[in-house]
């Protein structure tokens, strides 16, 4: 597990409560900065304005949108990502991606594993 204290994680989750909780968990596992956003626009704004070391993306964003194209965007910028999904099966939406998927609600353990995996992929 690399040192996350210097890393910034961009966390996109459209549910407020889950997002807040998740933010704390991300802090718990060591991220230095957690950028919580609840919409694609906000996420996009963060990504454009700040360096991001990791992104955790909720797949389904509630209004029928998914974070998948944003994920592509991040991957192009070599940002390792992980997905969070509220569904048991991610409906193959993430089939194109090698990024790990955590199931919501996630715990410290599951998120840590996902982060590790994602970051190792970049090493």
């Amino acid at each position: 597990m690399p040192d996350l204290s210097t890393k910034t994680v961009l966390y996109l989750e459209d549910e407020i409560l889950i997002g807040l909780d998740g933010e704390l968990i991300l802090k718990d596992i060591g991220f230095g900065t957690v950028l919580l956003c609840h919409s694609l626009e906000a996420a996009q704004a963060y990504a454009d304005s700040q360096p991001v070391d990791f992104a955790l993306l909720d797949i389904n964003l509630g209004d029928g949108r998914t974070s998948l194209s944003f994920a592509h965007h991040l991957l192009e910028r070599d940002v390792p990502i992980a997905f969070a999904s509220g569904y048991n099966r991610s409906e193959d939406l993430t089939a194109d991606f090698t990024a790990p998927v955590v199931v919501k609600p996630f715990s410290t353990v599951t998120i840590r594993n996902a982060v590790t995996k994602a970051l190792e992929g970049t090493d």
Partner: protein, 1171 residues
Amino acid sequence: MKQIDKASMHEEEEFKRSTGFPVVGVGASAGGLEAFQSLLSAMTPKHAFALLLVQHLDPDHDSLLQELLSKKTSVPVTVIEDGMEIEESTVYIIPPGASLTVEGYVMHLSDFDQPRGLRRPIDSFLESLAEEHGANCVGIILSGTGSDGANGMRAIKNAGGLGLVQDPRQSAYDGMPRSAIDNGGSDLILPSEDMIAVIGEFFDRHSDLGDALRGDEEFKRRVAKHLLYRTGHDFSNYKIATMERRIARRMSVLGIKRPNEYLQRLISDDKEGMRLFQDILINVTSFFRDRASFDTLKTEVIRPMLADKGTDAEVRIWVPGCSTGEEAYSIAILCLQELDRLNTRPRISIFATDIDEEALKTAREGVYPETIADSIPEDLLERHFTPVASGYEVTQPLRDLVRFSRHNFIKDPPFLRLDLITCRNVIIYFDRWLQDRVMPVFHYALKPGGFLFLGPSENLGVIEGHFASVSRTQRIYRRDDSVARPLAMPIASGTSSRTTRRTNPNIKPRETAAPPEDYYRQVMLENHAPAFAVIDRNRVLGYTSGRIGRYLEIGPGVPDLDIVDLARGPLRGLVRRLLATASTAREDTHSLEWEGDIGGEAMRLVLYVRPLRDSRQMVVFDERDVRPAEDSRPVKLTEDISNIDDLYLRTLEEELEEAQQTVRTTVEELETSNEELKSSNEEIMSMNEEMQSANEELTTVNDELRNKVLELDAAVSDLRNFIDSTNIATLFLDDDLTIRSFSPQARTYFRVVEKDRSRHLGDIAGDLSMTDLIEICTRVLDTGQRIEREMRTLDGTADLQVSVNPYLTADNEQQGLVVVLIPVTELRQYARELEEVSVAANRHLNEIEELYRVSPQPMALMGPDLTYIRANEGLAAVNGKPLIDHIGRSIYEVVPKLTDQVVEPIRKVFESGEPILSQEVTGYTAADPDRERQWEVDWYPIREGDSISAVGVSVRDVTKYHEMETELRRVMRELQHRVKNMLSNVIALINRARREEGDHQIILDTLVKRINALATTHNLLTTENWHSILFRDLLTPELIDVYGPERITLRGPDVRLSAKAAVAFGMTIHELATNAAKYGALASPDGKLEVRWSRTDEGGGEMLVVRWIETGGGPEGEPDAPGFGTQLIDSTIRSSLLGTIDKHFDGTGFRAVIEVPIAELQRFDERDGLA
């Protein structure tokens, strides 16, 4: 047709033989069928010869002969066709209307060229057979009338073949057999069933004998001796080869192998000698044989011979060995032809002689078969022959020229003073010794300068000693007058039996045979010394003594040998008288004494005349002085008497001569009328033959008809049985409606019995109306058209189909009626029942059809060509097209968008015959082009016999279910998602709570409240099916329900929030309310809260502006540290909803202004909502 005439035959004296198997020719006529059947029954395939049957057949009728004969033998029976080859062990029969000849082993058919009645098909056939096969053939004559075949059999025998004749006692008609036998054409007479065996044995034996006899000279000599004894004819100088052949033949016929046996037979059977004799004599002759020779004869002989003769002159011709007369008549014809060219007509006498009496008989009759037309030029035939039934007859003028008589020229004295001798058939049979002796006879018999005409191959050396040749090639010679030879007669020696002389009974039996000269001398010595002369019956000098010159004198001119003419002067009358009286008196000697003067010389004579044998006489001139004894005193004649009576005597003599002439004439006239009677007789006979011919043919036809009748009987019997077996009531009626016959079944409806035949229909009682029936019958008779009518029996119990048909014969003539009755009652009933059943079935069918049509269950029937055979309204509705637009249309036309799913299963069902059930089909039809629907389809095979004729379709629309199912699944998923989400939210709250520090009870309480708020929002959302809720409704439960309407004021338009926004905003409101309750206006009972919202658009998009106004509460300060609530509110409004929140704290209370873009509140997820 030529007779056997080949030069080779004469020179070789071998019988011509064909090489190969023998051919048997059979002739038959009336009664021949039976005879031939019995002949044939003995024939088997091992008999290696062919049988050819010529029967007199009626040319107008087909012959059944082949059929009838085939049944009698295992040997094939074939009808002859022109050009057909003859094969061994086969029977051939002539077809009607044709005549048959053979050429080698090939048969030729041709049309008859004679009218019926004059035909002799068997003769012409057998003659052709004899010519072609010679000794290698057999002629057979079976039963028949007439005489056809007699000549043919003779030809066969002459050629060396075998002649068999059916025993006349056995044959049904014995005319033909007897004729053949009488004409010398039979070797054996026997029953027809024995003939095949005899033929077989004959050919086995015949080849062996010839060689055996060749060396046996003694045998041949003895046979010749026997023949002489039996017949009086000496054959010892006949050509050896000829004799051998003929003897060998007889022996073969009799089945005798050893010569001694045959000799014994000759001795014991007195007929055998005659048969052998006949065999030897059989020769054949024809008219104008060797045409060229006759032509030369005409110009070189006949013409000069007749040319310089005056009318009184006599031309004398002799034909020795004339046989059946053709040669003699040929010469006669030439003479007659020549006479026409001359002015003078000399008297022509032709003497034709032979030893064969039978042949002479034929010659005298002068009737020859029509085949002579081949040898005689047409003009001559017409001039000198008359057509008769059996051929041609010589005309009277021709007949008168020739006199036939029996004469053996090798021992009888010849005719004398001949102009021409024609001998062309006989000398060839003589050996050299005999030939040497015959020539001088001819020489003597001819006048000086007379002609000799011989056959083609005479021995030249002998001839040329006596004759000069006129045309050697044509064998015409002239008497060499310089040669003087004494005549030595008789040439032949030997004795003969008196008893077997068949002919002329007047001829005295011969005594010793001594040379004539001796005899004369003897007579002279015994009786007279003086001069004498021998004359024949015509007073012609035959012989004179030396001193006869005193009394006889040869006058000037052509010498005349009539003794009367030669007698000198007064002796003439004397001699004449003497001869005249001598012929009538009975005494042996006649004499006349005379005294007179001859040539100045006184003379006293006694003339004697003494009869000699053969009608000759000796005239003696006895010049004597001495008178003889009393007993033989001559009649003295003085000159006086002679002078006085001379004239008278002369007159008497002349009258006598005249009388004799008259007698002769009368005799000739008698002969003529006799001849006329003969010809009438013959005419009658030929008519008879014609009738017999017709009769024969009729008999043949009759035989065949008899057989046919039998067959017809059988056919009739079959027909009868057939009618009886058909069980159909039938009546056969005549044109007058009398009953001819009826089938047994007819009795069911008519009261008829067997004896009712010939009764009128009207007299018969029946179950039908007879008057009606008669009327129908009458109508059919009139129109010739059949009538069918249904009639009911009088008692009404049965219906009948009555069919009245004209009865047509094989020639389509109408001859009555056939009435057929068929009971139709049952039929009618069946028809009725059938009708009913049919109607019921139709009704049922219609019901089912209707049911099918209106059934809501969509159904259809597909044909193998994928067109709709039938369909119902239900299916039409599914497909969205009218029902009529289905029938006959292709599935590609009706549901084009589904074909890739439905065509395959249809094909499968057609092929496999197995149904396919519950196939899912998804797609679009014209019924709802935009909505994808789903069906469950059953395909089932419709069988017809062994094949699938159609596929039935049954369709269930499962779209709704499908949709519902899909929806349900979606809902389930969504629900799952929601629950999960909800749980996640709750867990998030709990996690947050866990991080809180402080009083656990308060923490828990806060948690519970928050969870409740969440739950409330969710409840709200649930009532709205999770689609959206009004903003107001969000506030109500959190505020009014908790704090009551007196303290809470809500004011604002209806604004809808999406589920997500509702949950977020709900939490926000809860936190605000909680804060208000903890620290704000709602902490005290006087505090009031007003929430006002509105929609505004100030250019940045439509915003929801919410004012949270708290009043009347205690002083409120901003919490020192932002708690979770504040975080939540900020996160929601700012981060999630992208709005702003402005908080104020002043003395009156807390105040916030929230501004959120409406767009963010109304992001409706299409997955939201469970509708």
